[in-house]
């Protein structure tokens, strides 16, 4: 579903690029920089600076974890979808998130980190995932709003990643973006159905869901540009193409117009069109809340992580059995 600007994780001590040591390394570094400047794609087996590799492993794995954890809030409503049609749609969407997680894990593994290491980093709390999935899904309207706003924000963030300098990541993103469009459209359509044909209570339910998801959706673009120390390096390397604040503004401009079609309002009294800027002005985002949720103290952090760890642990015997079966079959074939 989506990656949160990786700058949120840029607080590790050992995170700074290492000083270049030898003349040989300097030459490689320069050749690499020249390829980036020329708009070349970098492939898995190509030489790359250690910091580039590390930044990518962090970002891609965080993105993969977000897809996998992102299945939980929506999975919560599969058995309670109001119609068979909505249930089939929601199932397909959640299955897509699993697929997206797998494309991304595979891309991260090309950088020399094993799947087990990636999963372990998530389960130990070392690796992060998007803060948005630490909010609860309280009503059916949340399913629509997640599609419209959360997937909408994800798409806005992901489209520039299709041109990311690291080719395996870019290829995964092309595939993901192609599939993601249905996610946003089904969400908007579900909401529109409620707003057009629903009871007053159902319309109020939609507005309530918008009220709860609006601000967390804006936080999905990551901290403001002046507090994103890693952004500059990622821009330099072609890992990131558009700044957090620019993407956030683009998202607001698009969704406020869409909210008029839907007949809902955003919970921001300071939201208004600025003729001079040709953009919507908006109120202050509560970054304290953002850092709290990223840091582990959101409404559902513990529940989400516990669900993932339990699924992994409970599935251990299946993974082992499948390997044992494969080994046995191989022996039989050899005999």
């Amino acid at each position: 579903m989506y990656t949160q600007a990786m700058d949120t994780m840029g607080k590790d001590r050992d995170d700074a690029p290492k000083a270049v040591r030898s003349a040989d390394e300097l030459a490689r570094q320069q050749a690499f920089d020249a390829r980036i400047d020329a708009g070349d794609f970098i492939e898995a087996k190509d030489w790359m600076p250690e910091h580039y590799r590390k930044t990518l492993v962090r970002q891609i794995s965080q993105h993969a974890h977000s897809e996998i954890v992102g299945m939980l809030p929506e999975g919560n409503w599969i058995t309670r979808a109001p119609t068979l049609k909505r249930k089939a749609i929601l199932l397909a969407k959640v299955q897509d998130e699993a697929g997206h997680g797998l494309y991304l894990y595979a891309a991260a593994e090309t950088l020399g980190t094993s799947r087990d290491q990636l999963v372990e980093a998530l389960h130990s709390g070392k690796a992060k995932y998007s803060s948005i999935f630490n909010y609860p899904t309280l009503t059916w309207a949340d399913m629509g709003v997640i599609g419209w706003l959360v997937d909408g924000a994800a798409i806005m963030n992901q489209v520039p990643l299709c041109r990311c300098s690291y080719a395996p990541y870019a290829r995964a993103m092309v595939r993901i973006c192609r599939e993601e469009s249905f996610h946003q459209r089904q969400g908007f359509e579900a909401l529109l159905t409620m707003m057009t044909h629903g009871s007053e209570a159902q319309k109020a339910m939609v507005q309530d869901a918008v009220d709860r998801w609006w601000w967390p959706s804006l936080m999905m673009f990551g901290p403001p540009d002046n507090e994103s120390p890693n952004s500059e390096q990622s821009m330099r390397w072609g890992i990131k193409r558009i700044s957090n604040d620019d993407l956030r503004q683009k998202f607001i401009d698009a969704t406020v117009e869409q909210s008029k079609i839907l007949g809902v309002t955003m919970p921001d009294p300071e939201l208004r069109w600025n003729e001079e800027r040709q953009h919507y002005d908006f109120g202050a985002i509560d970054w304290k809340e953002f850092w709290q949720v990223v840091g582990g103290d959101g409404p559902c952090n513990r529940e989400r992580l516990a669900a993932r760890v339990k699924a992994w642990d409970d599935g251990a015997w299946v993974r082992d059995a499948a390997l044992a079966h494969a080994a046995k079959s191989e022996l039989k074939e050899a005999a």
């Binding site: 190509d46 030489w47 595979a106 593994e109 595939r175 499948a322």
Partner: protein, 97 residues
């Protein structure tokens, strides 16, 4: 550090999008055995009828050229323009040869 040997092996997935076309590499996945790899490839890479046929190959079985040899391997072909039909200028009357 986790025990990598307990991981399901990695497979590369190739999909033929429709009859008459080549199989094309589209990604990789972990699976315990060949049959499971084919089934998972179907689920992960063809959820929207992207394919009519799937190949899977153990990743450790693939032999690839070394990126460091790229120039040595491929540059010698750069100055052999005579291998292309457009190199030859023929009379107009023969335009469609």
């Amino acid at each position: 550090m986790s025990d990598v040997k307990k991981e399901w092996p990695l497979w590369e997935v190739f999909v033929r999008s429709k009859a008459g076309l080549d199989h094309k590499h589209c990604g990789s996945l972990h699976a315990a055995d060949p049959q499971m790899a084919i089934q998972l490839a179907r689920d992960v890479y063809t959820r929207r009828q992207e394919g009519t046929s799937v190949w899977v190959v153990r990743s450790d079985q693939i032999v690839a050229s070394d990126p460091a040899d790229k120039a040595a391997y491929f540059d010698p072909m750069a100055d052999k323009v005579y291998r292309h039909p457009t190199f030859y200028e023929l009379p107009k009357s023969l335009d469609h040869m």
